[in-house]
Structures are given as C-alpha cells and as structure tokens.
Symmetry: C2
C-alpha cells in the first residue's frame, strides 16, 4: 500500500509516494504555474502509482478552506496568486483518483511531520514555523490542528521593532508584522542582498534573531507548547539558534519555566522533509 | 446531586454549589489570606452540602501544575503570594472530601463557562481574557484546554507601544507587555487614578483599546478561534468595545475574514459568573 503527499508551495509542488512506514519511495517537483498545468503534472505523477495508492495528504499554501461542512471545503480561497483563487484542489484530486484526501496548510503539514517522526514525537503540543520567503506557523495539540473560524496565520503576529532597526516593514498588509520584518523579502529590502548572502557576522542577524525570539516568546505565552520548531532558510544558518535562544531568555525573564531551550526551541529534525512526511502521515491516518 | 465550584482568586475565593442544570443554589466569598485560613472557610462551606456533593471544579490563580502525571499536580507553584507557594490545593480538597476534583486556571474556568453556557456555546474554539488587576487568558478547542508544558500566560504577550503613550510599563517581569500596559495598575500608574474613575471621554481609552485590540489581533492570527471574549473591569465600560473593534479592524486590514465582529469580539454572556459556571461544568463533566 502506498500513500501520496503533495506539498503545494507558492513556487513549486513537491509530490511524493510513501510506503506504509512512510519511507519515501518516489519524489518529484513541479513549478507552480496554473492549476491546469501544475495539477496535470501532479495527477500524472500519482497515476503511475494508482494501483497501490490508498490515500493522499495535501499541505497547501493558503489561505484555504478547512471546514468539512463548507461548500468550498478543499478550496484555495483568497490567495494573491490569481490563477489559484477559489480553486477546488481537493475536488480535482478526488475527480482524478476517487481516494480519501487529507487537507491542511503547508505549515500544518510540516508540524504534523515533526509531530509524527521528528522533534514533536511523543509530545502533546507542537508548534512549527517556517521563516523563509514568508513566515507561516501551524500547531498541533493532542493530534488535532489548532484552528477555529479558519487556520492560523501566525506569521503576521505583531512584533516590537528593534531599537536599532528603522525599517518600515515589507508586509503588504501590515507593514512591520513578524513576516514584514523577518521574512526573506524584508531582509533583502533592508540590506540590498539576499539573506543567504548576508555574512554570519553582519550585525543585522541580532535584529532578525530578536524578531524570531519574539515569535517564540508569544508562542510560549499563548500556547505553552512542548516544542517550538523553526524551519525555513534563515534558521539553517548555524549562528542563528544561539542568538534566538539568548534573545528569548532576555524577553522571558524566567517568567515561566519552559523545557530546556536546547530541546524547546529547535530546527526541524526532518530538515526539509517535514511537510512531505506530514502529508504522508495525514494520508495514513485517514485510513485509521 | 450537587457540584462544587471554587474560583480561587488573588483577593477572594468564590465558592458555589450548583445543581445538575448548573443553577447556582448557594454562593459565598472568602478573603484570600493564608491557605490555613482560607481553605478552612472553603471546606466549611462545602461541608454543609457534603451529603449531595458529587465533585468539585477549581479555577485557581497561578501558576499551577496541571500535569496529572506530575508529583506536584494540583499545586499552586511559583506564585508571588508566598503563603500559597507550592500549596497542594487539590490534595487539601481530596483530604477533606474524597471526591473527584477538576483543576485548571481561573481564566480557563471562565473560558469553560462561556463555552458551556455563554458566547462559546456550540462553538469549536473559544478564547477568554480578563483585563483587570492583571491580564489572563485561557482557550478551549473541541472541549480541551490549550496547553502543553504548562497552561498559557497570554496576558504577558508583547504589544507595540501606542505612538502617544510613553509609559514604561508596570509588569514587574516584562515592563511593557500587554499586562504591563493595559491592566489596572498600569492605568492607575499612568493617570494617577483607578480605571473606574477615568472619564469615558478621556483620551487614554483609545490607547487602552489599542492594546486590547492588539491582543485580539494576535489571538486571531495565532488561534483563529470562533470567538474572543473579554471579561474584567475595563471592558465593562460601555464605550470600550466600539474602540476595540475599530482598532482591531485597523490592525487586521482585512487580511483574514473573521466572523462578524459583533459576535467575534465580545464581553462575557455570563458576565461575572463565567468562572463559577465553568467550575461547575468541569465538575459535572468529570462524572461523564
């Protein structure tokens, strides 16, 4: 038996096939263009495995409709990617394969992957952020995603500007929210170069760490999770985690006693596979 | 059959007896002094109903230990109220009554009350804040409290200072966190009078509403709940809700489509009874 995974991102779709132990047996990426083109690639990919395919898990860019009783359940809704606005993603998959489909956001899928097989394994409450071209966050408690009228949009929480940072922010909606201050485009707009090209000893990284620490601080006080996982490009820089831990400690002032920081604020154990493993796990859990 | 409720606050304990429909049939308050004195009053109150008492629900000031498998489960832990530090609250009740005891924070209890019989009834995800001498918050999703390594301490989330507010903040830990800027002592320290004495047309209320709106904004993006309820003294002022709704709308910039604000950001339907009803409901649910 095989499970399918679709990590539907803004620039590419990563499709994968996993076996019953969630080993990845095939994987392919397709550029995100139009639903017609991209979904044709996706469906052709899965067609090859159709005979053994039991279910599919999707982690999608958003916003998406997650309410099973909604008329537009399974749709991408008001995305700025016009070709994908009001696109019936789950419907297209079901029309092609008539299989059970699990449906959530890309960051929720990554949180699920870490919860299943990563730093969240055996834990009760797991929060996952990605700090990349945007900032997104997802959370799981006791196996259920944190959600209500919709899925969270944690990347747009408010942050307090660093005293030495006079950047006005790059979020088209909120200016200087977390994403507007700390995501890739904000770094590039401030410094005139991409984050990956900014030297490790550049003073800006202290400011970036301060914003990420505020995110960890607010998450600690709002959700008290067992672990906070930061994925995405910025946190791959080896010097960042020490900075984030230090700023977090300064902000928290021992107000609550968190788990040991080395195990509490971490990067993904599954590295870049968290969302793919998460989608496979969601697909598998559908059959429980 | 009767259920017991203890709303254990920093200045008083409110004890109540409810019937099977959670009608309050008796209620009494006792000053919060020492565990010896206050708990003697509490136990004497319940003794009268002991023959019919089936279970007790407690919503306590904190921080408290909520982990059933912890050696100090049921304790008040590191509170600044020294007499109550490391006090085995649940143990004292069980020693006196040998009944099932439900145990959570005071704000979680209020959230549960609203979830059961108030503005959260029939909703999936409910968040309750109190803005009073401190700021506290609790959340419920699908009948479970949001928690992990501990219970949340939402009142200490970070806020962005209002451009016209140069107050340094009154939180002994964090200075200008939400509680440090918006709770009663902060208002009094800024204006030299208690919040209840500040006229409705005082310009400060716009700043207060801005901080509360930031709280609602962060809550919306972190939890996407179905309803956010603000209890406590400040929000009893009739002019406040319009201000909070207006600042919230300005902050959100239509980024996500919340439920209609009149039903989304509200004051408690149970007014001052939310925590008492919540404790009774928790006590009742223990017997399910």
């Amino acid at each position: 038996m095989y499970f399918g995974s679709i990590e539907a991102g803004g620039t590419k779709f990563v499709c994968a096939i996993g076996d019953e132990e969630l080993n990845i047996v095939a994987r392919e990426s397709f550029p995100t263009t139009t639903p017609e083109e991209t979904m044709t690639d996706v469906i052709n990919f899965f067609k090859e495995y159709q005979a053994e395919l039991a279910s599919i898990g999707v982690g999608s860019f958003g916003p998406i409709d997650i309410h099973p009783d909604s008329a537009t359940y399974g749709y991408i809704t008001s995305t700025p990617k016009l070709a994908w606005q009001n696109y019936n993603f789950v419907g297209a998959l079901k029309a092609a394969f008539d299989l059970p489909v699990a449906w959530t956001t890309d960051v929720n899928a990554a949180a699920y992957g870490e919860y299943y097989y990563g730093h969240g394994k055996g834990k009760r409450s797991v929060v996952y952020y990605t700090i990349g071209t945007g900032v997104g966050g997802g959370a799981i408690q006791n196996g259920h995603f944190i959600e209500g009228f919709s899925h969270p949009e944690m990347g747009h929480m408010l942050v307090v500007p660093h005293k030495d940072d006079h950047f006005e922010g790059a979020c088209p909606f909120h200016g200087n929210c977390l994403e507007g201050m700390a995501a890739g485009p904000a770094v590039e707009k401030r410094l005139g170069m991409k984050g990956q090209d900014v030297p490790a000893d550049h003073p800006y990284w202290e400011q970036e760490a301060y914003y990420i620490a505020q995110c960890a601080y607010n998450t600690t006080l709002m959700l008290s999770p067992d672990v906070i996982i930061f994925g995405g490009g910025v946190m791959k820089q080896a010097h960042m985690m020490e900075r984030v831990h230090r700023h977090f400690t300064e902000l928290l002032k021992n107000y609550v006693k968190t788990p040991d920081l080395a195990a509490y604020i971490v990067t993904p154990k599954l590295v870049d596979n968290a969302a793919t493993i998460g989608c496979l796990a969601m697909a598998k859990d559908l059959l429980k």
